[in-house]
């Protein structure tokens, strides 16, 4: 069994003690009540005895060292082998420690020494004294990085497993994160990244033409009456098979993305799917100047709006899934398709 020897408290206002002399060598057997060191405080020099027997080991401080009370300063072990198998750095200390200076020994004041004073010895130290303190320190440092957030926001973020770092954006340079920020973030979905938005406008004239020529087939008269538009071969953009890819907001009706192949997150992973992508449709007919950023739960979303003879295609995407350059390509592709020959652009869903 191992025991810790701790710097004892000898006076009422004592914070530290100086180890004036080590009286034992590492490996020496120490009996109960036998003195192992002398401790000097601002009032007394005192021999310190142990309350357990064992082989003295691993003195952590050299003679003359000032040590806070309660600090572990040495160990006692059951066997000599344990006691002598000590780390290298401790050896250096002991080499120094076990050359008692005679003048310091002389300074010893007999009347001050109280024979029944014992070092506090703790059984079964719960953790190794030699455990690297730097590790703990690093953890503390990481935790102390200040992100300003209200207690409620912090608590909510913690409950939802969101890191506050992910919530930081330009706005948060000025304001602490509040509940609203976390809540808004949560409704955006499991992703832990901020959203970006790209807008592209194009004239509606060619589309109206295209749509009207399609009218017999798809029973639509104007853009506003479109019930279903299918954009096929949605290439060059990163999506995930099977996942909800996008929320699509149209003026009225449905926009379906198909054949989402050739789609890769990275060069070596190519996802191919012929599944119909799960698309949520929200009708924006009654909304003016709608802001949709906080309504997405999918990694990508599109909003098509129509005003002043112009269509506006707005793409909102999570920046961890798509780069801005990729997104511009996607939007460009979509708008080109709208302006290209009709068959390339729009297909009836089977």
């Amino acid at each position: 069994m191992a025991y810790e020897i701790i710097m004892p408290v000898l006076g009422m206002n004592q914070d530290t003690g100086i180890i004036s002399v080590w009286l034992k060598q590492p490996g020496d057997f120490v009996e109960v009540d036998e003195p192992i060191m002398e401790v000097e405080t601002d009032k007394v020099v005192q021999e310190i005895e142990v309350s357990e027997s064992g082989y003295f080991s691993a003195p952590k401080y050299p003679e003359g060292a000032e040590v806070p009370v309660g600090e572990v300063i040495a160990m006692l072990y059951d066997t000599k082998e344990e006691a002598t198998a000590i780390p290298d750095e401790a050896k250096d200390l002991t080499g120094e420690a076990f050359n008692p200076k005679s003048e310091e020994l002389d300074k010893r004041s007999e009347e001050d020494s109280m024979p029944d004073t014992k070092a506090i010895v703790l059984k079964n130290p719960p953790h190794q004294v030699s455990a690297s303190p730097e590790e703990d320190f690093n953890v503390l440092e990481i935790q102390s990085t200040k992100i300003l957030a209200s207690p409620k926001a912090k608590k909510t973020a913690q409950n939802k497993g969101i890191s506050l770092t992910d919530l930081l954006n330009q706005d948060n340079d000025r304001h602490p994160i509040t509940y609203k920020d976390v809540d808004g973030f949560v409704t955006k979905g499991k992703g832990s990244n901020s959203f970006s938005t790209i807008n592209m406008c194009f004239e509606d004239a060619p589309i109206k033409e295209m749509l009207s020529s399609l009218a017999q087939e798809v029973e639509i008269e104007t853009w506003r009456m479109i019930t279903r538009i299918i954009v096929s071969s949605f290439y060059d953009c990163n999506v995930f098979s099977g996942d909800t890819l996008a929320k699509i907001y149209t003026i009225s009706g449905e926009l379906v993305l198909r054949n989402m192949h050739q789609f890769s997150l990275s060069d070596d992973v190519v996802t191919t799917t012929h599944n119909k992508i799960d698309v949520e449709i929200i009708d924006l007919l009654d909304f003016q100047n709608i802001s949709i950023e906080h309504q997405f739960s999918a990694p990508i979303g599109f909003v098509l709006t129509h005003s002043n003879n112009q269509f506006k295609l707005q793409a909102v995407f999570q920046s961890s899934f798509f780069t801005t350059v990729e997104m511009i390509k996607v939007i460009d592709g979509i708008t080109k398709r709208f302006q290209a020959p009709l068959r390339n652009l729009l297909e009836l869903q089977d």
């Binding site: 207690p151 409620k152 912090k154 304001h175 602490p176 509040t178 509940y179 609203k180």
Partner: protein, 327 residues
């Protein structure tokens, strides 16, 4: 229900209690034959006589000390302290004697004394007659402190105070004496330590004492027009404090302003904010905020005096700041 003034409510509370309990006496400067302060006690001496309604010399330490002794020996004195500012004169009698007798006698002595006094500025009474010193009294363990906000509250609370076996100090706003309000004709009591949720809301809690309740009501009205729903809590009883009602409300709204007319620093508001921080910390979305009188002697100049106390405009501005994360 009928509409009566604050003064009438106080008068009724005292008269009703005195009729029920012959041990109740009332003493103070000018409370009997010399006329009554703020005309609140009109008619009492005629009904109860000078044995029970006692004019005292102008010596606050003297007659409060007398009341403490009388309370310990079997009467239930109501002491009229004409201005709250005179609390400083009676601190030994109140804080060292009255507040500690029950404890130091091992429970053998009670001091069932009520001190009726006042607080509040903007009455052009200058620095020595305009202070709001409730925090100073509330700091002393053993004294209960009440701050009614309407005629209804003052009547119910005063009756509860008179029946309480401990020293109770009840602070009335000087400007409230002519305030009118609905008060039931039948008898009622407002138990000490119960706050009143005046108006429910979701966006911010306004915790207020005494006349600041009216300030917060005005503020809530303005906030409503800006689509902000404020919950108003009338604290009513400072000691004992109804912590639960306040904390529950803040847990709901996540934002709070505490308003009291005492000086802002080291006051009632700080205490309430502190308890909110301790008990609703993880529900707070903005710093819990105090509002009180400026930390200056109350000026005599009307223009300056009006600047020192919290107004509904300030409460509105602060509430909007907190809601817009402007802190």
């Amino acid at each position: 229900m009928r509409e009566i003034t604050w003064s009438t409510a106080v008068n009724e509370a005292i008269a009703e209690e005195m009729r029920n309990d012959k041990t109740i006496i009332l003493m103070g400067e000018d409370v009997a034959e010399a006329g009554t302060p703020f005309k609140v006690l009109l008619g009492l001496v005629e009904e109860f006589g000078t044995d029970r309604i006692i004019d005292t010399p102008i010596s606050e330490p003297g007659f409060v000390g007398m009341a403490v002794g009388a309370a310990m020996t079997g009467t239930r004195p109501i002491v009229d302290l004409m201005f709250g500012d005179f609390i400083f004169l009676v601190m030994d009698q109140l804080a060292n004697q009255a507040a500690k007798q029950h404890y130091m006698s091992g429970g053998k002595l009670n001091v069932p004394m009520v001190i009726r006094t006042n607080m509040g500025a903007t009455r052009r009474s200058a620095a020595q007659h305009s202070q709001s010193l409730q925090a100073i009294v509330a700091h002393i363990p053993g004294v209960k402190v009440l701050m009614p906000s309407t005629p209804y509250e003052v009547k119910g609370l005063l009756k509860a105070a008179i029946r309480d076996d401990n020293p109770v100090v009840i602070f009335e706003d000087k400007l409230s004496y002519q305030m009118k309000g609905m008060v039931p004709e039948e008898e009622y009591i407002i138990p000490l330590g119960q706050a009143n949720i005046l108006q429910a809301g979701n966006d911010i809690t306004l915790v207020a004492t005494s006349s600041m309740v009216q300030v917060c009501e005005e503020a809530a009205e303005v906030l409503r027009s800006k689509n902000i729903s404020a919950e108003i809590i009338d604290v009513r009883s400072i000691v004992p404090l109804d912590e639960q009602t306040i904390v529950d409300s803040v847990k709901k709204t996540s934002r709070v302003i505490v308003v009291d007319e005492g000086h802002q620093s080291y006051g009632i508001t700080s205490e309430i904010v502190s308890r909110i921080s301790e008990q609703a910390f993880y529900y707070l979305d903005a710093p819990p905020t105090r509002m009180g009188a400026m930390d200056v002697p109350i000026p005599f100049s009307p223009v300056l005096e009006d600047l020192t106390v919290p107004t509904s405009k300030q409460v509105v501005a602060k509430a909007i700041d907190l809601i817009n994360n402007n802190f």
